[in-house]
């Protein structure tokens, strides 16, 4: 088995011409009397630095990373669209790059003519296109419209035709850049089938995607790019986990910063804000009000290790911890919590009064814990409301939407609440369970 793609110490530097953004003219260049000087960049930006990896012939290789991490730059260099600034890239065999579907289509002429011209652009001969023409049209499901001008195509038809031509170039190395993110489910499945067929036929695939499930399912090897450098390389599962860990820590940072900001914004003078009127769920604004006779000085979500966090996996145990302070001895008090999703829908709400706790007395500093054995919410961002008030509703301290947290899940199920569940099948139904994560 040989090497299909060899990348060694690849660096790609983009040059920004900041001052020419405003005076992008020949005149200013001439006035300065120096055309070449004008072409000198003010700022350079490394999209890729020191990237080295090999892709074995017949394997599927995935590249993941957040936006701007250099994935597309890498693919463009591999496709030969841009040149490396330094380092070497070697691709063995015919390459087809699915970077933008139907990039070369001319809107005014028919689909049929575009197939031929696009095919020639992608390196096919006229004979090869004639041989594959019917197959291309059939794959794109455009038999009826192939003689209509492409400008009249729907965007779906356009993409189908673009994909069909590119995939029928029959490359040895297929480069795919996130093109599967567009298109309806049916089309995506069809493309995935075609890609699987490619793998079976021993072709090399290099895949750039945000779909981590796809990476784990398809890839033999993966790299995670961040800031133009390879962070982790190797087994897809390992790479995806490392990437997710970083995503989580970034989310954690962002949520913690947002919470700090929100709490700071509303921790001014007590009673500064009246209790707002009940609004529609989608208009739940952040807020804090109440007399502060009992003050909630801190609200935190604790993970199983007892440390405050903002990002959880679904099904994890979670504890809401409230730190409270009262100025005197209070005899009538209720503690409540509410969890809302990003749409403002109440996922769950309860308080000590509803659950028939009877307040006796409270003084000084204290702590209230609300423990959940399982956080059974589907993936998404949620807001925590916490409150201390009297049984008649007179507010001591009310925090609305000040505390946000995120629930992540590998299973992309729908709704709000995920009850613990299992599937059962009778013996005549043959179905493969998901592989254990």
């Amino acid at each position: 088995m040989g090497i299909a793609v060899r990348v060694s110490d690849l660096t790609k530097v983009y040059q920004r011409y900041a001052h020419r953004k405003q005076f992008r003219t020949l005149k200013s260049a001439l006035l300065k009397g120096n055309l070449i000087g004008e072409l000198r960049p003010d700022e350079i930006f490394s999209a890729l630095s020191g990237v080295t990896f090999n892709v074995w012939e017949g394997s599927t290789f995935a590249v993941i990373g957040r936006n701007g991490s250099g994935k597309s730059s890498l693919l463009k260099v591999l496709a030969g669209i841009t040149k490396p600034t330094s380092g070497e890239v070697e691709v063995n065999g015919r390459v087809s790059a699915l970077i933008e579907l139907g990039a070369g289509f001319h809107p005014e002429i028919s689909g049929r003519e575009n197939v031929f011209i696009n095919g020639i652009m992608l390196g096919l001969s006229k004979r090869e296109i004639t041989e594959r023409f019917d197959e291309i049209v059939e794959f794109a499901e455009l038999e009826e419209f192939i003689d209509a001008p492409v400008k009249n195509y729907s965007s779906g038809m356009y993409m189908r035709l673009g994909f069909a031509v590119a995939i029928h170039v029959n490359p040895d190395v297929l480069l795919i850049d996130e093109v599967l993110a567009v298109g309806d489910q049916e089309f995506v499945h069809k493309c995935l089938d075609k890609i699987s067929e490619f793998r079976r036929r021993g072709k090399t695939i290099l895949l750039v995607t945000h779909s981590l499930g796809l990476v784990e399912k398809l890839a033999d090897e993966a790299i995670w790019l961040d800031g133009g450098k390879i962070q982790v390389r190797g087994d897809p599962k390992k790479v995806v986990d490392a990437y997710l860990a970083q995503v989580t820590s970034r989310e954690e940072e962002a949520l913690a910063a947002a919470e700090e900001q929100a709490v700071a914004a509303f921790s001014g003078s007590p009673e500064a804000e009246p209790a707002p009127d009940e609004e529609s769920p989608s208009q739940r604004e952040k807020g804090r009000w109440g007399s502060r006779e009992v003050e909630i000085t801190e609200a935190a979500l604790l993970g199983s290790d007892g440390e405050p966090r903002h990002v959880f996996d679904t099904g994890e145990p979670v504890t809401v911890r409230l730190r409270i302070k009262s100025s005197g001895t209070i005899k009538d008090f209720v503690f409540g919590i509410g969890i809302f999703n990003a749409d403002g829908v109440c996922c769950y709400g309860t308080n000590t009064d509803i659950e028939e706790f009877v307040p006796l007395s409270l003084s000084g500093d204290g702590e209230v814990r609300f423990a959940l054995d399982r956080l059974d919410l589907v993936e998404g961002t949620y807001f925590l409301d916490v409150a201390a008030h009297q049984r008649d509703g007179y507010p001591f301290d009310y925090h609305r939407s000040l505390h946000a947290f995120r629930v992540n899940s590998r299973v992309k199920d729908l709704g709000i609440y995920r009850p613990a569940h299992r599937w059962e099948f009778s013996s005549n139904i043959s179905i493969k369970p998901p592989s254990e994560q």
């Binding site: 992008r24 669209i81 790059a97 933008e100 070369g104 005014e108 002429i109 020639i120 652009m121």
Partner: protein, 259 residues
């Protein structure tokens, strides 16, 4: 650069099919379609004839003047539309350069060749007039040589301007005026021999002067008196082409990032 030049030969199918696409797409949707390739030069001819035969009559010592005019307008139109289109072809086709592995030099070639096809479509009309006025000369056999000269020269100029306009978008605006000046500095509406020698000396620096005189002599007057100039121009066009190509090649790697 030599390797890239050799590659050009491999792109001939691509260039050919893109030229066909260009021609098909240009008049798609218009009622008269392909006839515009004939009608446009005819309309131009009418306008110039109106001005120089009726508004300002008797200016130039050529008969029939409209035919003379037509002999020059056809190749000039090929030249000037090629340059104008080439000056933004890399930008309008940015999608190709950025999204697929595409040899950028193909684009100015396609511009020049598709305008050449329009020029060829105008030729039958020109020939019809030449026959009508009894102006067919044996010197016609040298016409392909003049056409080739113009083709090579235009390619060089178009490669240069298409590359330049990627970095300086205002090239397109400058060109519109430059071409106007160029038009009046070339013997299209006036005969080369009618101008005073002192001005002729300056016009001789303009390569298009000699190419147009070439057309006038092979088609209209039936003389070959200008051949030393044309011989010099054949070297000049090849040099122009190589310089234009070298400039284009030099900036090649910047297109995908700049357009």
């Amino acid at each position: 650069m030599l390797k890239n030049l050799r590659n050009l030969f491999h792109y001939r199918v691509l260039i050919q099919s893109l030229v066909v696409r260009e021609l098909k797409a240009r008049y798609r949707g218009s009622v008269l379609g392909f006839f515009w390739s004939f009608i446009n030069p005819l309309l131009q001819l009418l306008i110039y004839t109106f001005v120089f035969a009726y508004v300002l009559p008797g200016r130039f010592q050529v008969e029939p003047y409209p035919l003379f005019l037509f002999t020059g307008i056809l190749p000039w139109t090929w030249f000037s539309s090629s340059i104008l289109e080439a000056s933004n072809v890399l930008i309008t086709s940015g999608n190709l350069i950025k999204k697929i592995m595409f040899p950028a030099e193909v684009l100015p070639f396609v511009v020049v060749f598709s305008n050449m096809v329009h020029f060829f479509l105008g030729l039958p009309i020109l020939f019809a007039f030449l026959v009508y006025y009894g102006k067919l000369h044996w010197t016609l056999v040298f016409l392909p040589g003049v056409v080739l000269l113009q083709l090579v020269f235009s390619l060089g100029v178009c490669l240069f301007f298409s590359a330049l306009s990627v970095h300086f978008r205002d090239v397109q605006n400058i060109l519109a005026n430059l071409l106007m000046l160029w038009f009046f500095s070339s013997p299209v509406i006036y005969p080369y021999l009618d101008i005073s020698p002192s001005i002729q000396r300056w016009l001789n620096y303009n390569p298009m002067t000699h190419i147009l005189v070439g057309y006038h002599q092979t088609l209209f007057t039936g003389s070959l008196g200008h051949w030393p100039w044309l011989l010099a121009m054949s070297v000049g066009s090849v040099v122009t082409f190589l310089v234009g190509y070298a400039f284009f090649d030099r900036l090649r790697d910047t297109y995908a990032e700049e357009v």
